[in-house]
Structures are given as C-alpha cells and as structure tokens.
C-alpha cells in the first residue's frame, strides 16, 4: 500500500469517525438500531454541496447539513415514540424516504464540488501536501466532536440518556422523560452522521445520492472494532475506540483491496465489509467459546 493510499484510508476513516460516534449514541447509548444514517449521510453531503455551490460559507453549509440530519433523526424518533412503530422499521422508512429527498435537494444524482472554496481551502498550500492536510483537519474536528459527546454523556443530562437506553422503567421511575431522551439522542446521532456526510462531500469533491449505502454497517464496524480493542468500560475510551476503530477499518479494507495475492477489486468492497463486520461480531463469542471449552 502506497503512502498516499494510507493517508487516504486514514482520511476516509476520520470522515466515518463522525458516523461511528453517531452510531455509538444510537446503538450503544440508546439501544436504538437506527438505519436512518444510510439516508442521513448522503443528506448531509447533498445539503452541504448544494449550499456551497450556491455560494454559502462552507462552515455555515455544514451546520445546516447537521440541522437537516437532526430533523431526519427526529422523523425516525417520532415514528417510533409517537406512533409506536418498531424502531428498526421506523428508521428504514425514513431512510427510504430520504433517498427521494436527497435527489430533490440536489436536483440530480450527484453534485461536483469543483473550483469552490470548502472548509479545507484555507488550510491548503502552507507547506503540507493536500493529502496530508485533509486527515489532519478532520482529526481536529473529530477530537472536538469527541470531547463534546464525551462531556455530554458524563453530565446529568447525558446520564439520563444512558439510563434510558439501559433500563427504561428505572429511568422513568427516576423522573426521566424517556421519550424526550430518544428524540434528542437520535437527532444528535443523525446530526453527527450528516456532518460526516458534509465532510465527505468537501474532502472528496462531490456528493452522490448512492454514497449512503452501507453507512450503518461501516459505522457499526468502527464501533465494534473499537470495543474489541479498547473495551467498553469507560465512555471516553469507548469514544476514542470509535474513532480509531473507524480508521483501522479503512486501513484494513485498503490493505485487503490493494493486496494483489487476494485478487480483490474495488467492487468487492461491500462483500469485504460484510465479512469484516461479521468477523468482528463473531470474534468475541468465539473467544469466549474457546475459553469455556
């Protein structure tokens, strides 16, 4: 694997670190299997790309993308909380709907972000090669996001969210409005995923309506790799695990695809992903099985 390919893998891993943090909030904190993210990721990319092309400040465009993501999350949460639709199904409904929404937002299947200023433009050309600037910029943003999420989860309000996911009956008995926790948590989760999408569009130079396929699997893979390597005991460690897991996942994929002896090509990506995630899911079970037998 060339150096550029490695930097590229790290870059993509850091983009999906935001997805991993979002997926952690939904799956692990709230115990809410939220597939909305498959639609929210391209939604974030689409909103950011269209706004930036229209001349809006890229930072503002990214914030609007996050708001759009949060709204999508609220739709899923409403379907589940207000209308009692099974959480998984509620998120699939929103995800399907978002495919059409994303096409409407862009007006066509993809938008190119060429020859316009993005969040990264001011950081290019200061001595570092572009392919190094992007991951460094993303790392800074990811650290900020990680600290915000961490601090929130360690607060009284965040503890209420964790209790909602862990034991809903107990949470209510403690006076926690669990419905509100689901609304807020799923909105926050999808805002992070949409931010990932907005950054994807700006680092790759395009937004595409199909970019969201498998987002949930990639996010989940990052979370699980992080958990396997770092454990789940402390919130901060788990969050750092999400980010590093996301990077390691991309490097592993890159290595699998670039190794000639395996004979894989780019179109095998989804299959490789599924195998990798399955492996990461089964590994802890196998380890336990070996130990007990």
């Amino acid at each position: 694997m060339s150096q550029i390919a490695l930097w590229g893998a790290v870059e993509l891993g850091l983009v999906y670190a935001f997805v991993a943090l979002g997926v952690y909030l939904a799956f692990r904190v709230l115990d809410f299997p939220d597939l909305t993210v498959d639609g929210t990721f391209p939604l974030g990319a689409a909103v950011a790309a269209v706004l930036i092309m229209a001349g809006v400040n890229p930072w503002l465009a990214s914030v609007v993308a996050m708001v759009a993501g949060a709204l999508a999350g609220l739709v899923t949460a409403t379907l589940n909380v207000r209308f009692k639709i099974l959480n998984l199904l509620a998120s699939i409904l929103t995800m399907i709907a978002l495919f059409s929404v994303n096409l409407r937002v862009m007006g066509r299947p993809n938008v190119a972000l060429l020859s316009v200023d993005t969040m990264l433009t001011p950081f290019y050309g200061h001595g570092l090669r572009d392919f190094m600037v992007r991951p460094m910029f993303l790392l800074m943003l990811a650290i900020v996001a990680l600290i915000v999420v961490w601090r929130y989860l360690e607060s009284d309000a965040g503890l209420a969210m964790r209790a909602t996911g862990a034991n809903v009956r107990m949470a209510r008995a403690q006076g926690i409005n669990t419905d509100r926790q689901v609304y807020f948590g799923i909105a926050l989760s999808n805002a992070l995923v949409a931010l990932g999408g907005a950054l994807f569009a700006q680092t790759n130079g395009f937004a595409d309506v199909t970019a969201g396929v498998g987002t949930i699997v990639v996010g989940l893979a990052a979370v699980i790799i992080g958990e396997t390597l770092f454990g789940t005991r402390r919130i901060l460690i788990a969050l750092i695990g999400c980010v590093i897991g996301s990077i390691l996942y991309r490097i592993a994929i890159q290595m699998a695809l670039s190794s000639d002896s395996l004979g894989l090509q780019a179109s095998d990506l989804n299959l490789v992903t599924a195998v990798l995630v399955t492996f990461a899911l089964v590994l802890p079970r196998l380890k336990r099985g070996v130990l007990s037998s």
Binding site: R151, Y152, E154, S155, D156, A157, G158, L159, A160, R162, A163, A166, N167, R169, M170, A171, R172, A173, Q174, G175, I176, N177, T178
Partner: protein, 265 residues
Amino acid sequence: MIALDNIHVVFGRGTPLEKKALSGVSLTIKEGAFTTVIGSNGAGKSTLLGVLAGDVIPVEGSVRIGDADVTKQPTAARAGRVARVFQDPLAGSCGALSIEENLALAHKRGQHRGLKLALGHTRRKLFREKIAELDLGLENRMTDRMAMLSGGQRQAVSLVMAMMAGCDMLLLDEHTAALDPGMAEFVMKLTERIVGAKKLTTLMVTHSMRQALDYGDRTIMLHGGEIVLDVEGNNRRNLDVEDLIDMFRRVRGQTLDDDELLIAE
C-alpha cells in the same frame, strides 16, 4: 398525606378479557405512616402501587400525594414525589452503569438534569459516604457495574437510591421477595431503620403475612380489587398470622390451599 378517592382501574376495557383490577378503592394515609399491604395474587396490590407510582392511570377517581393532585401525571412527572424499590432487583437500577452512576441518577430524581458533571468530586464523596452506611463493603466498589452485585446488594443500594432525593412517599413492591432469607432480613432491617429515621410515609406490598404484621403501623388486605381489611393500633397489635389467615379464608369463602399457608410464615 396520601389520598386515593374512589379509584377504579380496568384493564383491557371493551375486550373479552376485560378485568376490573380495582373497584372503588378509597384510602387515606397519614403523613409518616408505614402501611403494609397484603392480598393473594390478582387482588390488586400491584395495581394499587402502580396507581400511586403513575404506571397505571385510573379510569375513575383521584390520587393526591402531598399537596398535589397527581391523578393524570405519568410516572416520570411525579417521580420527584414518589421513591420506589422494585421487587425485581434488576428493575430498580441500571446494571450497565456503575454504582456511583446509579446514585447520581437517583440524586437528581424528579429534578432538572443539566450539563453539570454527574460525578464531580463532592458528589463522589457524598455517594461513597451513603454507601458506606450500608456496611457491605460496597464503598470500595463504587465504579463497579451494578450488574456485578448480588440481588441483595442491589436491593440495599436501591434503598439508598430511593433516599438520595426527597420524596413524599416511599413505595416498596415486595422488595425482599426475590432474596434469600438472610439477605431479606438484612434489607428489611435496613428498610425499618431508614423509614424510622426519616419518618417517611411508606407503603409496602408484601406476600408474607408475618412481614405485614411485624413491620409498620397499619395493614390493609386487598381482595378482588377492594380493601377487605384495614387495621391499625391495638386491633392490629392483637392480630397474629392465624387471624389473618382466618380472615383471608372468610373473604375468599373457601379453604386455603397449601400455597397460601406456605407464605404465611
């Protein structure tokens, strides 16, 4: 003061399985009174507790706790008034969270939860002191997950949690039923100590007639969704388990089966 007025609860209304769980229950509990509740399965004990906690909203009647009418308030909205220990040790606390995190949750029961750190220095110290009072050695395991504790330890911590924030009433839902005899004894003694020290208005549901008479200062018996016995003071002191079983038999109009004799002790 707690006041239930003409409470009616119907489950599965309008379906073939419609069941009247409570029919016209009225009950006034004085401030600081410790009331025990007995009754056979399906008598309405849990429903009564649910009505007070907010899990069950009655179709008719009113519920007053302290100075507020809480009839229509769901559980979370009245949690600041009602502290509770569940029968299932797993139900009252979060197994996935640590002991101190569970206490932090209870510390803010029924209050606004802001962005302040849930486990700052002063709170950690306070929680440690509270747990140390149990004398179970748990103060050295504050960061252990709740799931690592035994059922009895969890119930003991649940009692501490119930006392972390103020309340107008404490609900105990057969909170020693799932424990081994030794631990049940410990938890009951602890309950008595806490309730006595704070003069808490307490309602304890129990399956054990022995417990119902040994603890508290008033006993009510439910049957078929109605209060069929309500004793306190001297009348209650002169009662023993035999008398209760007698009354039980009379209201049911049949002889007791072995099952019910078992729970008499």
